[in-house]
């Protein structure tokens, strides 16, 4: 039986990358992702991980190098955060179009300005439509598990797509938690050596990243969209296989105390744990509330979401990014759209909360619940409200 050890979540994430036996790492340190890069460079320097660690001068170069190593057939890892993601974003879209199965941990942090190093989801929403598989973990164990699974999913020949594991900056990255690691033998059995479908090989030359004329570009986008959507059953299959191996099962949408609930909070990432505590507290007080956690953000699991919210009156969505001048936070906007054709769809009440590390404590969920009742009573549920802003 593997032992649970207390360790910083960034260290657990690095351990997952080491156990995955990656061949190439290119990354540029940026708060709050730094400990992952530092730890991985130590592994390589100490000979504990036989990989090329390629120091680069920027994140744009980091992602460019990752595309090169992945195209050459190397299992490739990078990690970044906020401004780093913004800088590499040009290449992020190219990696998915070229179907290079790079795994990236994104230590979620707000985008400047004003300059802030703290946690929210504005960075990942910048690349929402980048075509990578994107999932969220809510604690250290999940980050470790999801990172290992990410390599297997990304490299599966039915998928071959890059993968972002979202890990909330500081509230996960810098927190020490009990994490159960796996031994190398178990991981090797679960995650065999990467076998690329195509790779850069002088004996078998291929063209990668070619130009597409207007008469072909549309077909390439259709293929990319279908490919990402088709990854969902494989993601579920591999998460199931991981669950059978470890007893820790993951699903695209997960619920907590949703049975009999009239209202569900909808959260992603680390906030889900606080929301669970809030739900426990409110349930004790007799409020019919539960929690719906979106684990898989892309491809969006519509069927699972519909199943999870069927029969519920209200969804209180906690958005952690703003769409300035838009219809609401990115999550609520999508959920409203997903529910649009439903005759008796639940009402979607959107709160933008927890921007740039501002705490959202269990009591705040209760306040949002009360505020949602007021908004519903007054018919004010279109749009969004920035929770806790000083007026």
């Amino acid at each position: 039986m593997p032992k649970r050890v207390g360790m910083e979540v960034s260290i657990a994430a690095s351990e997952a990358v080491r156990l995955a036996n990656v061949d190439a790492i290119a990354a540029y340190p940026i708060t709050p992702q730094t400990h992952i890069v530092e730890h991985l460079s130590e592994f390589v320097a100490n000979g504990e991980l036989d990989a090329e660690f390629i120091p680069v001068e920027s994140e744009h170069s980091a992602m460019s190098v990752c595309c090169g190593t992945s195209a050459a057939g190397a299992r490739t890892f990078t990690c970044t955060s906020s401004q780093g993601l913004a800088l590499m974003s040009e290449i992020v879209f190219i990696a998915s179009a070229m179907q290079l199965p790079i795994v990236m941990i994104l230590a979620n942090r707000s985008l400047s300005g004003p300059l802030s190093i703290w946690n929210d989801h504005t960075d990942v929403m910048l690349v929402r439509d980048c075509g990578w598989i994107q999932c969220f973990g809510e604690n250290g164990q999940e980050i470790f598990d999801l990172t290992l699974c990410a390599f297997k999913i990304a490299e599966d020949h039915r998928v071959i797509l890059p993968f972002i594991v979202n890990m909330d900056g500081f509230i996960l990255s810098h927190v020490i938690e009990p994490v159960e690691l796996l031994d190398q033998e178990t991981v090797d059995k679960f995650l065999p050596v990467y076998k690329p479908v195509y790779r850069l090989d002088p004996d078998n030359p291929v063209t990668m990243g070619a130009f597409a004329m207007p008469d072909l570009y549309t077909e390439t986008k259709k293929a990319q969209d279908e490919r990402l959507k088709a990854s969902k059953p494989v993601i579920e299959e591999i998460w199931k296989e991981f669950g059978d191996l470890t007893g820790r099962y993951y699903s695209p949408i997960e619920t907590y105390k949703a049975e009999g609930a009239k209202t569900l909070f909808v959260t992603m990432g680390g906030f889900s744990e606080t929301a669970s505590t809030a739900v426990d507290m409110m349930r004790e007080e007799g409020e019919p509330v539960g929690l719906c956690k979106i684990r898989l953000w892309r491809p969006f699991p519509f069927e699972d979401f519909w199943k999870a919210v069927k029969g519920v009156d209200t969804l209180i969505v906690i958005d952690r990014a703003t769409s300035y001048g838009g219809p609401g936070g990115p999550v609520a906007s999508e959920l409203r759209s997903a529910l649009y054709t439903w005759e008796d769809a639940p009402k979607v009440v959107d709160f933008i909360a927890g921007l740039a590390g501002r705490d959202v404590a269990p009591g705040d969920y209760k306040k949002m619940y009360q505020r949602a009742q007021q908004r519903i009573a007054s018919g004010d549920i279109a749009g969004y409200e920035i929770y806790g802003v000083r007026e």
Partner: protein, 90 residues
């Protein structure tokens, strides 16, 4: 070609198949050589950005219309004014 025919990542497995692409389709004007003025210097051949000008058996020059885009650089560079562009008809 439908979207289902594309390889993973749009990889092209046949090296050099860009040669199949008919850039001559872009052409609206076609270069014509006047053999009376041509001194067979080959300046047009050297300047053609698409290497679409070839030498004929009698040492004059002609455009390979599969690739010639009708850009007119040969017309501009010709020392004796032996090349002119004529309207491409349907």
């Amino acid at each position: 070609m439908t979207w289902k025919d594309l390889n993973i990542g749009c990889v092209i497995t046949e090296p050099g198949n860009a040669a199949e692409y008919k850039s001559g389709d872009w052409r609206s004007m076609r270069p014509i050589w006047d053999k009376d003025r041509c001194i067979q210097c080959g300046v047009c051949y050297i300047f053609c950005p698409d290497a679409a000008i070839y030498k004929t058996e009698d040492n004059y020059f002609e455009a390979d219309l599969y690739y010639c885009k009708g850009c007119g650089i040969c017309v501009k560079e010709c020392v004796t004014g032996a090349i002119r562009l004529v309207e491409e008809e349907e």
